[in-house]
């Protein structure tokens, strides 16, 4: 897969760069890494990062440094659906441990692992700002809150279904 943004994305990139003063295009790095991650399979390969470096006229190491600092950038491949379950205090009180264990058992994977079919990855994350609606997890762009085992079942079912429809 050649790493190349579509024309639409490229327009978006230009629009983002225009938000900052002349010569400060490095500021666009975080938003563009987000775009790159969305466009190229949910993670940032070295190739992708080098491509971003070339767009923004940065050295490669500058991009690697940033990409490895922030926890939302994946520098290794992940599944199609990433379950990011919060495990910090307020969620722990409300039973996040149980939810994590349930997902582990159900999908038969450990934390940080991906199912064999490449559909699901389980990650634990730190407080996502939904402590009042605990336990919770992030799935793609949205939050799934007030999690229960039944809710997890439904979510997994829906994901599997929509994956098989798309294929």
């Amino acid at each position: 897969m050649a790493v190349q943004f579509s024309q639409d994305t490229m327009n978006k990139v230009q629009e983002i760069i225009a938000r900052y003063p002349e010569g400060k295009q490095k500021s666009a790095l975080l938003p563009i890494l987000h775009l790159a991650q969305e466009s190229f399979g949910g993670w940032l390969s070295v190739e992708t990062m080098d491509y971003v470096a070339s767009i923004l006229n940065l050295t490669k190491i500058e991009v690697y440094e940033v990409a490895t600092f922030y926890s939302m950038y994946n520098t290794k491949p992940v599944g199609k659906y990433v379950f990011e379950v919060c495990q910090t205090g307020p969620c722990m009180i409300e039973g996040s441990d149980e939810i994590i264990n349930y997902i582990k058992d159900k999908l038969n994977i450990g934390v940080g692992e991906t199912t064999q079919d490449g559909l699901f990855t389980l990650k634990t994350v730190e407080c996502l700002g939904a402590c009042g609606y605990a336990p919770m997890m992030q799935l793609g762009k949205h939050y799934k809150e007030h999690l229960t085992k039944e809710k997890i079942d439904t979510i997994i079912e829906e994901c599997s279904k929509s994956a098989s429809v798309n294929n």
């Binding site: 003063p21 730190e126 700002g129 605990a134 762009k141 949205h142």
Partner: protein, 450 residues
């Protein structure tokens, strides 16, 4: 009866849209400010209001604005801190998600007051859908002439951009936020220079929390003087509290700072009491970084006085017997909760979020985390408690940014107030795997210090 200045309209159907927000009196403050007030007059008004930063440190906002350097020919910037990552805190999210125009209006007024033509909202990366909501609101405001060039014919230009972070609590620290906004790793800067002199792209910069900016709108509407009349002492106006944990009604509440902690927890208007009829054991009143308090010190100060939900009262007794208002993340623990385990998750959090620049924080947070994991596994030693105490002591105050302190305080407070629970964890290692220590005497009235 409670006064609401920020969330009074939040339940109006469609308030997220420009039309409804405007119909409900929105952008009145912006019009008043831009058309009838000078930038300096706005700063004065904010000073008069006594508004204090709602991001955690509680620094007077008007004063902060007046420190902004104004060198000739160099642009200045306002940056809105929407990074909100402090465990227990989810108030800014609520505000942005449900009443985004309030923030946009506040930003417009503040940008005008500070002379910022390009203003940035730095929002935590996980709030991806809120980015869309904010961008939608910005577009609507622009379409209606509230942003862009020559706003209301005043000659003032203003653009607001939303920048998404990518998962790093440390980017809530203002200089780390600026670094991140410059496209770098979120390493806090060594101060001085302060952002007010050299901030974003080395230009003078003010960083303010979402709620702080939103509060500017009612201040302009009702005047600073009126705003200052609400609340008590130096805790003026209203404050958003995000309440979570073992309570009946977790959520975001707007309070004027005159109610007592007890009322806040037990009244049906707020938290609605402890869930399942359990008893209150402890509470972290201002986000994970502030000291945890056992029930008896939470509801009453060491002097036996009622503790109130405001900056001064929560801090009564300093760190020995008090806590802090912090960011307003109110975490309630009931009698079934284990303090050791809860503190362990926080220790893990800070280890995960340390940027790793300075040695006490990088090494100290991970060391504490390892010890807590050992305690949790039932392999703790009695000497671990003192070791934890020493580690936190050696971190506190010796780091580049306050994250080091924030990692030290919760551990210090947990040991200070719950040492017997830690000891029980070690002496009853096997039992601690199957049950919690319970309420013990943490709710019993304390002898009053005179």
């Amino acid at each position: 009866m409670s006064i609401k200045l920020l969330l009074d309209k939040v339940h109006v159907e469609g308030i997220r849209t420009y039309e409804v927000y405007k119909r409900e009196g929105g952008y009145r403050a912006a019009e008043k400010a831009l058309k009838t007030m000078s930038p300096d007059a706005i700063v004065e008004e904010v000073k008069k209001s006594g508004l204090r930063g709602r991001g955690g440190a509680g620094f007077p906002t008007g004063l902060k604005w007046s420190f902004l350097a104004k060198p000739e020919g160099i642009p200045r910037h306002l940056v809105c801190n929407a990074d909100e990552s402090e465990p227990g805190t989810f108030k800014d999210r609520y505000l942005m998600e449900f009443i985004p125009h309030l923030l946009i209006e506040g930003l417009l007024i503040a940008s005008y007051a500070l002379g910022s033509n390009n203003t940035y909202i730095y929002i935590r990366g996980e709030y991806a859908w809120i980015v869309d909501i904010l961008e939608q609101a910005i577009q609507e405001a622009k379409n209606n002439g509230w942003l862009g060039k020559n706003i209301l014919g005043t000659g003032f230009d203003c653009n607001i951009y939303v920048q998404r972070g990518a998962g790093a609590y440390i980017c809530g620290e203002e200089t780390a936020l600026i670094e991140s906004l410059e496209g770098k790793r979120g390493n806090p800067r060594i101060k001085p220079p302060f952002p007010a002199v050299q901030g974003l792209w080395n230009r003078p910069t003010v960083v303010n929390n979402v709620e702080t900016i939103a509060a500017v709108v009612p201040i302009i509407n009702i005047t600073g003087e009126e705003y200052a009349k609400i609340g008590v002492g130096r805790s003026t106006g209203t404050k958003l509290i995000s309440a979570c944990g073992n309570i009946n009604k977790p959520g975001v509440y707007e309070i004027d700072m005159t109610i007592s902690v007890e009322e806040f927890i037990y009244s049906d208007e707020w938290c609605g009491g402890i869930k399942n009829g359990k008893r209150l054991k402890a509470c972290i009143p201002g986000g994970s970084s502030v000291p945890i308090l056992p029930a008896n010190l939470l509801l009453k100060t060491a002097k036996g006085e009622t503790r109130y939900m405001n900056y001064e009262s929560l801090n009564d007794g300093g760190f020995v017997s008090g806590s802090m208002m912090g960011s307003g993340g109110f975490i309630v623990l009931d009698e079934d909760q284990c303090i050791v385990k809860h503190t362990a998750t926080l220790a893990h959090f800070y280890r995960h979020e340390s940027c790793g620049q300075c040695s006490p924080c990088r090494e100290g947070t991970s060391w504490m985390d390892k010890i807590f994991q050992r305690l949790e596994k039932g392999q703790g030693k009695m000497s671990d408690i003192d070791l934890l105490w020493h580690i936190q002591y050696n971190i506190d105050g010796n780091t580049i940014c306050p994250l080091g302190d924030a990692a030290a305080w919760p551990v210090a407070a947990a040991i200070r107030h719950f040492r017997d629970e830690f000891e029980w964890h070690i002496t009853h290692a096997a039992e601690a795997q199957t049950r919690n220590f319970g309420l013990a005497h943490y709710a019993d009235p304390l002898p009053v210090v005179q």
